[in-house]
């Protein structure tokens, strides 16, 4: 076991290295590129036995990734934002192939406008694809989650690709101390890739991904995909408990931070959730009974764990670092549906913030909690609030004048 100061991208590269992956199809995109560069240095230097190939687009990269997994090897790849969307067709396709692999997404706000800052609209767009999703908020989590992802993906109950998300720019480029498990210990946690029944080789021909005509038959295969994804709930828990047994760290499907006697909670995912943790600490010191519910698994949706964490709460402030134009934040609506189904009485106040990496200062966390409390006390539920200040608006107007913007 070694302790290194590494970035989120570095942790992702270490995850692939420790997992002893066989194949890395790659394509550069900010802010993921460092992963590709680190891996290629290791491959060229003989530190990794993997074959690495630069494809000519993310759509090709994801096709090569899935095809290699369908042939029978352990595959790692990475992308961000526009790249994830460029290959979106292949996310659905590869999931439908029922092949395990790990795709790291270093999330970045989507065009338009084109930007170089983080948020979660990219990874949310992959939500329905059949790829499972794990969301990280620290560099340690990134490395550990890649190992967890392979174990879950390759579980015979699952056999699905997994997306491991880390926030671009903030987590990708921030150095944190990370414990690197020993390679032989990881090899015991992740034995060599077993293709099970899905493989291409001479002497045992297989036709994979063939056309399926007829609604009934097509439905069967799609339901099977969904059921495999649902099986990832127990498979993840098994993988996480085994990881804890071997490496001493437990990464639950849903983190409950200071939730024991909480009346209120923030719900957030990713690196910005560490800001919510800091807000929880400050507000508890001020007398609030407040905590943070931080889902790590988003697909499969850990409904039971979230409902359990929210049990007894009066109010919840959900902060979505994504925006579904025309409705609001995506997590807010998934959470509300789960709580409604469970008969929860908690009032859910929805907020959209952190788009394009917009900071969320402590005052805003306090204001959001106050909104949740006001709703819990019986005031009418406010609509989804978009976090933005008057001074920001003044600044925007100044920019628009310079740009000769006309209303």
């Amino acid at each position: 076991m070694e302790r290194k100061l590494i970035t989120g991208n570095g942790a992702a590269a270490w995850g692939a290295r420790l997992a002893d992956v066989d194949y890395i199809p790659a394509f550069p995109i900010t802010p993921q590129t460092e992963i590709v560069e680190r891996l290629s240095a290791w491959v060229e230097g003989g530190d990794m036995a993997a074959r690495m190939v630069m494809l000519e687009s993310e759509h090709s990269m994801l096709t090569a990734a899935g095809a290699a997994a369908a042939t029978g090897v352990r595959v790692f790849t990475a992308t961000s934002s526009q790249g994830l969307l460029y290959g979106m067709e292949m996310l659905y396709t590869v999931a439908g192939w029922h092949v395990p692999l790990v795709l790291v997404n270093v999330s970045r706000g989507l065009a338009a406008p084109i930007t170089l800052e983080p948020d979660h609209n990219d990874v949310m767009a992959a939500r329905d694809s059949g790829f499972l999703q794990i969301h990280c908020s620290t560099c340690q989590e990134v490395l550990d989650s890649i190992l967890l992802a392979y174990r879950m993906a390759e579980d015979p109950r699952v056999r699905l690709p997994v997306l491991v998300n880390l926030d671009g720019f903030y987590l990708s480029f921030t150095r944190e101390p990370v414990l690197l498990p020993a390679a032989d210990a990881v090899r015991e946690y992740l034995p060599p890739f077993d293709p099970q029944h899905t493989a291409f080789r001479g002497g045992a021909p297989q036709a994979q991904a063939v056309a399926v005509l007829g609604g009934s038959l097509y439905s069967y295969f799609r339901y099977e995909l969904h059921q495999a994804a649902m099986q990832a709930l127990p498979a993840y828990e098994d993988a996480a408990r085994e990881f804890e047994r071997r490496f001493g760290r437990y990464h639950p499907a849903v983190e409950a931070y200071r939730m024991d006697d909480a009346e209120f909670a923030f719900v957030m995912i990713g690196a910005f959730a560490t800001k919510a943790k800091a807000a929880v600490d400050a507000m508890r010191a001020d007398g609030w009974r407040i905590g943070l519910i931080r889902p790590r698994l988003l697909r499969p949706f850990p409904e039971a764990d979230i409902v359990a964490a929210a049990s007894g709460l009066r109010g919840i402030a959900v902060i979505d670092q994504n925006l579904s134009a025309g409705y609001g934040g995506i997590l807010q609506h998934e959470l509300s549906a789960a709580l409604f189904r469970a008969g929860s009485q908690a009032k859910v106040a929805g907020f959209v913030g952190g788009l394009g990496g917009r900071d969320i200062p402590l005052e805003e966390f306090v204001a959001m909690a106050q909104d949740a409390r006001t709703a819990a006390d019986g005031a009418p539920m406010p609509p989804t609030r978009l976090l933005f200040t008057e001074s920001e608006l003044r600044n925007t107007r100044r920019m628009q004048e310079i740009a000769q913007h006309h209303d």
């Binding site: 066989d22 194949y23 199809p25 036995a49 993997a50 074959r51 190939v53 494809l55 000519e56 687009s57 759509h59 090709s60 990269m61 096709t63 090569a64 990734a65 899935g66 095809a67 290699a68 997994a69 369908a70 042939t71 029978g72 090897v73 067709e89 292949m90 396709t93 060599p192 291409f200 080789r201 001479g202 002497g203 045992a204 021909p205 297989q206 036709a207 994979q208 991904a209 063939v210 056309a211 399926v212 005509l213 038959l217």
Partner: protein, 303 residues
């Protein structure tokens, strides 16, 4: 170069594809693919892009003795990259023996090859991928009802053009510019020429690229039983040059007779309803002359 294919009698007896697929009667594309598959023999995996041939394998059946992977319309060569690389890794890391290796064969129509798939083809060739590419060229987006593609020739009628105003993309030239191991045009109507080319390619490492002339009764409007004759006329008139690129040179393997001795292009055009507007209600002399001149100019410069 020595070859085991000197006449029709030498063609493989053992077939790699079963009959009874959903392809149209008289499909010239299927004719060529079956012949190519027979020469390639066992231990193949066909990596397919969206097109007519996608419907060869429909759950729960496949006509192939070998393996099959449907990918997407634009990325079959990238799929081939993944399969080829994975097989190499499996052999290098001792997880499969060399005898279990496969020949990786991309199979696409002209639509994917000339347009949406051109980028991924270019990438695969640029990386020197060791694979085969079989493009069946029926000169349009066939599976969706024969709309104009960039392989549709000048003057042809399609579902989206009364008389195509564009020209046929020079896919052979585009592929040759990448300096792959091998490029060839073939036709199912010329089986011995086809077999020799596949045989030749099999001895080479790297991208081995084929464009197969694919007479299409459904899209070109002729009777299925005429399919072979349409293919033969395409070669005899000089419209479909049979050629190969290898060792830096382009060689024509079955050139037509010289101008004046080879049949007029009209004989070929008359066989298909997609060119009927050049003859009825009136002969379009200007277009007919232009099309003939195109063929003649090609062979003049090839000489």
């Amino acid at each position: 170069m020595t070859t085991q294919y000197k006449s029709l009698k030498d063609l493989p007896r053992e077939h790699q594809m079963a009959p009874g697929t959903a392809m149209c009667a008289g499909c010239g594309g299927l004719e060529a693919i079956k012949q190519i598959a027979d020469v390639l023999g066992e231990n193949t995996v066909f990596v397919n892009a969206a097109g007519c041939m996608t419907l060869l394998s429909v759950y729960p059946h496949t006509p192939f003795r070998g393996s099959w992977l449907y990918t997407a319309m634009g990325s079959a060569p990238a799929g081939a990259q993944g399969v080829r690389d994975a097989l190499d890794v499996l052999m290098r890391r001792g997880r499969i023996p060399a005898e279990e290796n496969l020949k990786v064969v991309v199979l696409t129509g002209d639509g994917a090859a000339n347009g949406i798939g051109l980028g991924s083809t270019s990438g695969a060739m640029d990386r020197g991928l060791d694979f085969y590419y079989v493009c069946y060229d029926n000169e349009g987006y066939g599976n969706t009802g024969h709309q104009t593609s960039s392989a549709t020739p000048l003057g042809a009628e399609t579902a989206t053009a009364h008389s195509n105003a564009g020209g046929k993309k020079d896919l052979f030239g585009i592929w040759v510019a990448h300096r792959p191991a091998y490029v060839a045009t073939v036709a199912g109507a010329e089986p011995v020429d086809l077999a020799r080319k596949v045989e030749r390619a099999m001895g080479l490492q790297g991208p081995k690229m084929f464009i197969a002339f694919a007479p299409c009764p459904t899209g070109w409007h002729f009777e299925p039983r005429e399919s072979v004759e349409v293919g033969k006329l395409a070669v005899k008139t000089g419209l479909w040059p049979l050629k190969e690129y290898v060792d830096g040179k382009v060689v024509h393997t079955r050139p037509p007779r010289p101008r004046g001795e080879r049949p007029a292009l009209e004989e070929y055009l008359r066989t298909q309803g997609r060119y009927r507007h050049l003859f009825e209600p009136r002969r379009d002399e200007a277009m007919l002359a232009r099309l003939q001149a195109q063929v003649d100019a090609y062979w003049d410069s090839a000489a």
